[in-house]
């Protein structure tokens, strides 16, 4: 019986491929668009992702997201250190400083100033050199993508290829000399600015003059202490806001969701993908059922009950759904594997395939319900009329 259903389905090559194409297209659009959306959103928190060591991030309570720097007084660090339950606290500078390249163009860099003695908050992986090289005079560590791209040394003519930045090369940060002592691998950030790591005191020197320069205080909570309790204590004693890494990520992502058009744009794309799927698959399946009315009529005339015919249709639609969504999601994943080293923001957590499968299931269900009506009303006598 199911074999007949399969033969019916696959035998009608044109419709079969059209339906699979429809489902595949829908799942490709849903998977790809939502993965790019999640990828873009996760880039906004790339810096927090790269700095998993501290338990708490302490900052001005008015900070809206991780790139929204509201500097504090240096003595706030001492106050945070004095809060009960804080194991250690170190300063972190984060700010934008202009670098001048050899050909005279300016490039805004994201400068991270690490605590001088401990270098807490350093890059997670080093491609060349070590973090402790930041102890050298005027030293900075540059991220790999920038060293090969935005900060690479331009050739003698605009057409000639750029030379990647190497260890030992000089940079000009806000009219200060800086020596590259290492290349780091960092997660790309939303603005895709080059990331330059240096020490806190050197960042003070590079940074434009401001009265307050302390961007964040990174704190570790004593073992056995509850993060939220200590965070609340920091807030009560110093008036500063303390967030855990995931909380700060949430804060940042919520800011981008609320204040940028990104979620609406991607939401529309995903929604359109879904409706295109419903339209293609629904219509094709409907005409497929119409084509096969003959066979269904014969079966009905032979005494097959409605529910037998239903289960045949369900097998047909779900086969189409399974094949199509597998192919669609596969193509989406394949593009991410191919474009791994490009600027494409693609991040697929396990929830996305699950949601895609649910969406294709919904499409097939809608299609099934759509077709069932026709089968119920089918009179066995139709066979003999044609």
């Amino acid at each position: 019986m199911y074999l007949i259903a399969l033969k019916m389905l696959i035998g009608n090559k044109g419709k079969f491929f059209a339906m699979i194409f429809g489902v595949a297209l829908t799942s490709l659009i849903i998977t790809q668009q939502s993965s790019i959306f999640v990828g873009l959103m996760s880039r906004t928190v790339g810096f927090i992702f790269d700095t998993p060591l501290p338990d708490l991030w302490v900052m001005d309570p008015k900070v809206q997201f991780v790139d929204d720097i509201k500097p504090m007084q240096d003595t706030k660090l001492l106050q945070v250190r004095g809060v009960q339950g804080v194991e250690w606290a170190v300063p972190l500078y984060k700010g934008s400083i202009r670098a001048r390249l050899a050909n005279g163009t300016f490039q805004t860099c994201n400068v991270i100033g690490l605590d001088d003695s401990t270098l807490v908050g350093g890059p997670p992986t080093m491609a060349i050199g070590k973090v402790s090289d930041l102890r050298l005079a005027d030293s900075v560590i540059v991220d790999e993508a920038a060293a090969n791209g935005k900060l690479a040394k331009p050739g003698p003519t605009p057409q000639s290829p750029k030379t990647p930045l190497k260890v030992g090369d000089l940079l000009e940060l806000n009219d200060n000399r800086a020596v590259v002592v290492g290349i780091a691998r960092t997660t790309r950030t939303f603005q895709s600015q080059p990331v330059v790591y240096t020490t806190y005191s050197r960042a003070m020197r590079f940074a434009p003059r401001e009265r307050k320069l302390l961007s964040f205080i990174l704190a570790k909570v004593q073992p056995g202490q509850d993060f939220t309790t200590v965070a609340r204590r920091i807030n009560a004693q110093t008036g500063l806001a303390a967030y855990t890494g995931p909380q700060l990520k949430g804060l940042t992502i919520r800011y981008f969701m609320k204040n940028t058009g990104i979620p609406i744009n991607f939401g529309i794309a995903v929604g359109l993908g879904f409706f295109v799927g419903v339209a293609i698959v629904g219509q094709t399946f409907y005409s497929f059922i119409t084509d096969n009315m003959r066979y269904l009529g014969i079966l009905k005339a032979m005494g097959a009950k409605n529910n037998v015919l239903f289960s045949m249709i369900v097998v047909q639609t779900f086969l189409v759904g399974a094949l199509g969504s597998g192919i669609g999601m596969g193509i989406a994943s394949l593009t991410s594997i191919i474009s791994k080293n490009s600027e494409l923001a693609f991040y697929m957590p396990w929830q996305i395939p699950v949601v895609t499968v649910l969406a294709t299931t919904l499409i097939t269900l809608l299609t099934t319900i759509f077709s069932l009506w026709k089968v119920i009303r089918l009179e066995p006598g139709i066979v003999f009329r044609g």
Binding site: M1, I4, K7, I10, G11, N12, K13, T31, F49, P52, L53, Q73, D74, T75, L78, Q79, R81, G82, Q84, V86, W88, D115, D116, S117, T118, L119, V120, G121, G122, P123, P124, T125, T187, S201, M204, R205, K212, T238, R294, Y295, L299, M302, A304, V308, A322, L323, S325, G326, I327, M329, G330, I331, S333, L334, S336, I337, M348, P349, W350, P353
Partner: protein, 311 residues
């Protein structure tokens, strides 16, 4: 129930080989999906701190940052007179005793003046002798009628004046000697030379200098000047112990004993190394002392300080 279509009804033909392409493609697709999901779920490696950050040794404490100084406080040696440095007797790091010569200024002019002054003393003494001789000649005359009374008095006053000029010349010579003495700068305390910027041939002005010629101080025991933010100042209690942790190596820790509060709360300078340093807040300074022993600690180094507090 087994259903079978009548033999005369033929379903369209399909090739089995072609049919398998789609499930295989779908299977590969699912494998790619799983691969991408797994590859994306790897968390960033945790970069360990290069040096372990300082951890507080007390349950409840006030944190501060301290600078190591000598217990006598660092004495910026001044020159009492302006002049060119002639000789420097000590180097940075030398142990010194109170009264030991540190450096001396060019004293040739003062020495020449002293010679003049001493010659003046001699001349005055010669004049006294002359006056004495004159007076004794007059006094040797036995007949009082031979000498006028006034003449006699005049000789006596000449002698008195001559004696006074000796005293004057001597005190002038002594004043010059004192000046000469002041041209050698001596240590006010027993201790150690912490810094020496005095070099032979340089000019030493007799005024307050931002870069003093020489800094001396007592190095054993050492003191730590701890800055505590004004908002935390009420939590610092007199006499509570504190722990100092050296920057750069948190294993170098030393207990410290309370010495005193600096009673005046001062504006903190954020040490940015710039010539115009920014004032951000006010800090209470607390002085603690500790024994240096074999610790590799130098005056002027920064330390993280935790002061025990019950509040």
């Amino acid at each position: 129930m087994k259903l079978q279509l009548p033999a005369n009804i033929n379903l369209p033909k399909f090739s089995t080989v072609k049919f398998y392409i789609l499930p295989v493609a779908s299977l590969f697709g699912i494998i790619f999906v799983i691969r991408t999901v797994i590859a994306g779920s790897v968390p960033a490696p945790v970069a360990p701190p290069v040096v372990e950050p300082a951890r507080p040794p007390y349950a409840s404490f006030v944190a501060g940052s301290g600078i190591i100084e000598s217990i006598s406080e660092n004495i910026a040696i001044a020159s009492p007179l302006a002049g060119v440095i002639k000789e420097v007797y000590v180097k940075a790091g030398d142990p010194i005793e109170a009264g030991q010569a540190l450096f001396s200024l060019d004293d040739r002019d003062v020495k020449a003046e002293l010679e003049v002054r001493e010659a003046q003393v001699e001349r005055a003494q010669a004049q006294v002798q002359d006056a004495e001789t004159q007076l004794s000649l007059y006094q040797g005359v036995n007949d009082p009628r031979a000498i006028m009374k006034g003449e006699m008095l005049k000789r006596e006053s000449i002698l008195a004046i001559a004696r006074a000029s000796v005293a004057e010349a001597e005190s002038q010579a002594n004043a010059t000697k004192t000046t000469l003495e002041r041209m050698t700068v001596r240590s006010p305390i027993n201790g150690r030379v912490l810094q020496s910027k005095a070099r032979v041939g340089e000019f030493a002005p007799a005024q307050v200098m931002t870069n003093p010629l020489m800094v001396v101080g007592t190095v054993s025991p050492l003191a730590v000047r701890v800055d505590v933010d004004e908002n935390d100042a009420w939590r610092v209690e007199r006499g509570k112990p504190a722990q100092g942790i050296l920057r750069g190596n948190t294993e170098i820790q030393f207990p410290m004993t309370f010495v005193r509060f600096e009673p005046y709360v001062i504006p903190k300078r954020s040490l940015t190394g710039e010539s115009t340093e920014r004032v951000d807040t006010r800090v209470l300074q607390v002085i603690y002392s500790f024994d240096k022993n074999d610790l590799p600690i130098f005056v002027g180094q920064l330390v993280d300080v935790y002061i025990e507090s019950s509040k």
